[in-house]
Symmetry: C2
Subunit: 639 residues, 2 copies
């Protein structure tokens, strides 16, 4: 066993930032990058490295500000409303269009609307005009030498126009900071390769290089470096030699036996920080090697992306002379209790929706390996160091990943998971730009409870009630909100046993499950209730089912667990089994309904949803899916 050197010791976020700044300052790397000439046509989004002055005045001659006739004001003094003055075309009056230079000896423009035609060669005017009326004087917009743009200004379309208008063809913009990314890890393969068992796709370099580009920097990545300290040192030495502004070493920042980043920096330069008290993301490394800052980025993708947001993007912006990006910040009510370690700055990904006028935040899965939790997050709640977390109903400060307008236009469905809710969301989103449906999986019962608590706009459920042999209605009465609610059928769908391909254990019904390893769903899931009902029918107790306590949260997760041999059987949708090439024995066609409070039925968002749900396009596509029927889709259930 190789000796493990554990440097890791978390320090507070602000202390880590201060150490980095101090090191940058002593290496004279804290100031913005110098300027370089950039043609205007390529300068959108670049940042000025110096104030820009007008080279030419604009306009650079007196010109007509209106379509009409240029005249000498002095020649018009005798014109009266009651006594038209005749001006000779080409002698006293000259037709001009907006932007035309004033002819010699003229100093005013009469608008075309205020003129009548005299004979062929004259016009008639009815009022004297003041000198310089309807004339754009030279320099009206910009006078040569005037400051047009300030230093450290990010160039927008109108800025480019103004620069071109005052005689510039290029602009001195800050050089884009260059970042060299070194991905490490013997278990990793590049994104264009097909991973074998034991190999993972390296995509953190794609996330980080995209963040860097978005912030205005340039990024390039080396090939993946294996878990070998010599190889890493060589890559780091090569990286430093190419004189980038920053080097990132991806993974290897923790204290595992293959984590060499800290040692390599320590050997070649100075290790400033190993471990920052932020969650997720704590094993961040900061060092300096030959005057180049080096950041060791944790390997978990959520940690890597947040390290990008917290450290790397602000650094790129600093080198561009700009303040860190300011996300919009809002306050939202937490729908759950969130525990947070006292010593850490804790960043919690949340889904947001506005329900009954109240912005609500629901924490998403917290595992740092779950990149989809960041993809799905509408914002990031920050629970500062020395705070224990928030209670359900407490206030969270959230920096937004999505525009507030979109969040306010979000229809939130909580409850049971059905993959076809994604299909509904697709049809909805394709039809209504700037609006969306989001479904959060908390199980059928959880959905009804969320509806009662005012935490969802609607709930999805498929709860079988054996006593009445009906779906959903009795549960809605017992667990649903204390107000009139309609049930609208979403789909009928086929539930059954999900089995390994070829069904090696020869399972044909629930009766065969004694002794088999079963994969269950979580408490409150409609599928679990259905399974319990089927067990009761077969007079089997939960104790007799090995794995009854193994809980998965979605149909696909059950199927995946079966596919990977964790269990011999699970219960779920035909579609989930077929998606992963598994066997399936159908047992039940069940009804999946959407519970919608009556007072929401007439809202624009719910009307839009019903329009999509009842539309031919959606019903046709839903009905064509294996294990689904859409003949009652969109119908209101009579209770």
């Amino acid at each position: 066993m190789s000796k493990r050197r554990i440097f890791l010791e978390d320090i507070p976020l602000e202390e880590a930032r201060a150490k980095l700044q101090a090191a940058l300052e002593s290496a004279r790397k804290a100031t913005p990058t110098p300027g370089e000439p950039v043609p205007l046509v390529e300068a959108l989004g670049r940042v000025t490295a110096e104030p820009v002055r007008a080279r030419l005045s604009s306009p650079h001659f007196h010109c007509a500000a209106m379509d009409g006739y240029a005249v000498s004001a002095a020649a018009t003094v005798s014109a009266r409303e009651t006594q038209a003055l005749s001006l000779r075309l080409g002698v006293d009056a000259f037709p001009v269009n907006t932007g035309d230079p004033l002819p010699e000896e003229t100093n005013a423009v009469i608008m075309i609307e205020n003129v009548n035609q005299g004979d062929e060669s004259t016009i008639l005017i009815y009022a004297a005009v003041a000198p310089w009326q309807h004339v754009r004087l030279m320099g009206e917009d910009m006078v040569s030498t005037e400051t047009v743009l300030q230093i450290n200004h990010q160039l927008r379309p109108v800025d480019l126009g103004a620069l071109a208008g005052c005689g510039h063809q290029s602009v001195t913009a800050r050089r884009q900071p260059r970042v060299q990314i070194i991905p490490t890890g013997s278990e990793l393969v590049a994104a264009h390769e097909r991973p074998k068992r034991g190999q993972l796709i390296e995509y953190n370099s794609l996330i980080l290089s995209s963040q860097i580009r978005e912030a205005g920097g340039e990024a390039s990545a080396t090939d993946i470096v294996g878990d070998d300290e010599c190889e890493l040192r060589r890559a780091l030495t090569d990286g430093v030699a190419s004189a980038p502004d920053l080097i990132l070493i991806l993974s290897g920042s923790s204290a595992g036996s293959h984590d060499f980043t800290a040692q390599a920096i320590d050997a070649l330069g100075e290790l400033l920080v190993h471990g920052i008290a932020v969650r997720p993301g704590h094993p961040v490394i900061i060092g300096m090697v030959s005057g180049v800052p080096v950041i060791g980025v944790p390997g978990y993708p959520v940690s890597a992306a947040l390290t990008g947001e917290l450290f790397i993007v602000p650094l790129i912006r600093q080198w561009l002379g700009m303040a860190p990006p300011e996300a919009s910040n809002i306050e939202a009510v937490s729908t759950q209790k969130i525990a947070s370690p006292l010593g850490d700055d804790d960043f919690v990904r949340v889904a947001l929706a506005k329900i009954d006028g109240r912005l609500q935040a629901t924490p998403l899965q917290r595992g740092a390996g779950v990149i989809t939790s960041l993809v799905e997050a509408d914002g990031l709640a920050h629970i500062p160091r020395f705070h224990e977390g928030v209670d359900r109903g407490g206030t969270l400060k959230v920096s937004l990943y999505q525009p507030l307008r979109l969040i306010e236009q979000t229809l939130l469905i909580m409850g049971s998971h059905d993959p076809m809710l994604d299909l509904l969301a697709t049809h909805f989103r394709a039809r209504f730009a700037g609006q969306r449906i989001v479904s959060v999986n908390v199980g059928s019962l959880g959905g009804l409870i969320a509806l009662r608590r005012g935490e969802a706009h609607l709930a999805g459920c498929h709860l079988f009630h054996p006593e009445s042999a009906t779906y959903n209605v009795p549960y809605l009465q017992r667990y649903g909100p204390n107000e009139p609610v309609e049930l609208v059928t979403f789909a009928h769908r086929e539930q059954g046993l999900i089995l390994p391909a070829g069904n090696p254990k020869g399972i044909t019904s629930v009766a065969d499950l004694r002794g088999a390893r079963y994969i269950n769903r979580q408490r409150g899931a409609g599928t679990r209730l259905l399974f319990d009902h089927l067990l009761a029918q077969h007079e089997i107790t939960a104790d007799e089912i090995a794995g009854y306590e193994h809980e998965e949260y979605t149909h696909l997760a059950v199927a995946a667990a079966v596919a990977d041999g964790i269990g011999d059987c699970g219960m779920g949708l035909r579609g989930a089994a077929e998606a992963l090439g598994l066997d399936f024995i159908g047992l039940v066609w069940e009804r999946f309904d959407l519970a919608i409070p009556q007072r929401r039925l007439e809202t624009d968002a719910v009307q839009a949803l019903l329009e999509v749900l009842r539309g031919d396009a959606f019903k046709r596509e839903l009905g064509a899916q294996s294990g689904y029927r859409s003949d009652e889709t969109g119908q209101i259930v009579s209770k």
Copy 2:
């Protein structure tokens, strides 16, 4: 005189938008563009044309979620805190790092922190572990076939990571809408050419193509087309033949004798709209030619840029399946009365600042030819159709061009104009990222009044008081705010007569101005008061000065008017004369002070300003300017 066909008739904005949509629908051009495969490394900011499902599960095998030892949970049941269990390395326990696949027959990971070394080949554990503890199960993040991204989703860094992580190398993204831009106007030259007298630089194509690129489209521009209807028709026909999504014809959209856009569209296709009741920007044209939408964009740059914001960017976004961009909207108090024509949607560029906790909007110059007014604008106030405008103190709805944070960090100086305030702003901005100084020119007296009204943080003034032979103090007492105010010296500067190069009229003092054409400054300007004082000294009355009523607003504007022969002489700063290569006869060294209410002296922003003002770097650069002295810069004036 050529016959002028005037189509122009303004219709309301919403009606124009509806006509465009109806025409797009009947041409089947209202729906989003189709998808095309885009490699992930080039896909940042692109928009999905279909939902994206996982191709591989992630992780696609069970792997360690922690650094430690992989074990079989069943083999650990006898471990107790008081009774260590010894596990044989390589037999019962296998060292694993985060991400490593679980070795065969293991189903849990024990964290390295919870293990002690036994002898060389064993470890000791002190607690049993549950199956799947610290294991990332296959598909924990994404299960193959699961929907990872929705349709019409603009790709962010984390989205690209997720796509790579579930086996994608490319994504089906909407084709970028293609826009063909045809700039027209015989008076125009391309931005890379040097304009002669009568020629203007064509830069609207740069503004519009940049807006289009920023919105996610592609734009290309033809050479400039002269004012010739045949030539324009040919360019339009060629443009249609290249099958773009949209054609823009720049300028020629009004009703002047050289405006052929409407005729050309009418001849080759269908003219839908000519004239929209928006200000600025009303001569917008909309038509369809052979199924391609054509927009005629007004020639004034502010009108052109607003047409881009109001019509073109939303259209690009529609073709990308997205809602129009949502600017942040705020409410601000107007510092001036704004009159607005009843029939128009009126868009007013405003400067914004937060003063005494109140967001205040000051309208900027309203000429549609003044692109700098759009560059300087912090936002755009919308005064809807059927509203007459707002009174001073009334509320404006403003969509922001700058982040609210920057606006809140803006220190607003109103009052007299001095070009070196730009130098101060440069030093300030270079030192303090995310903060800025903005100076608005309202003249010295105007600044003191603005300070009294609470419309500025500080005021700049250089008001000579002949009776007391002092600067500023008596005026501050009379016009300034009713609270203690400090005067801090900004600079001493040289005022004098600005004369054409070579001084053809041989003017040597104010006494020579009788009979010369003078260029004056606006009422309330310190320079005008100084001139009045000098006239009185020479016993000259205003009546004797031709052009006394000709008002310019800045030193450079006075110099520009002299340079262009509008006048024979003006009064202003040495620097302004020298910038334009004019003669200058110095008359007075005057003191320019900043008036700062005492209660603001200790604010961070004013402290930052004083730090810059008193710093060596700024004082040295200021003092090196021709016509400036900085020896008292930053000193508090004793009253």
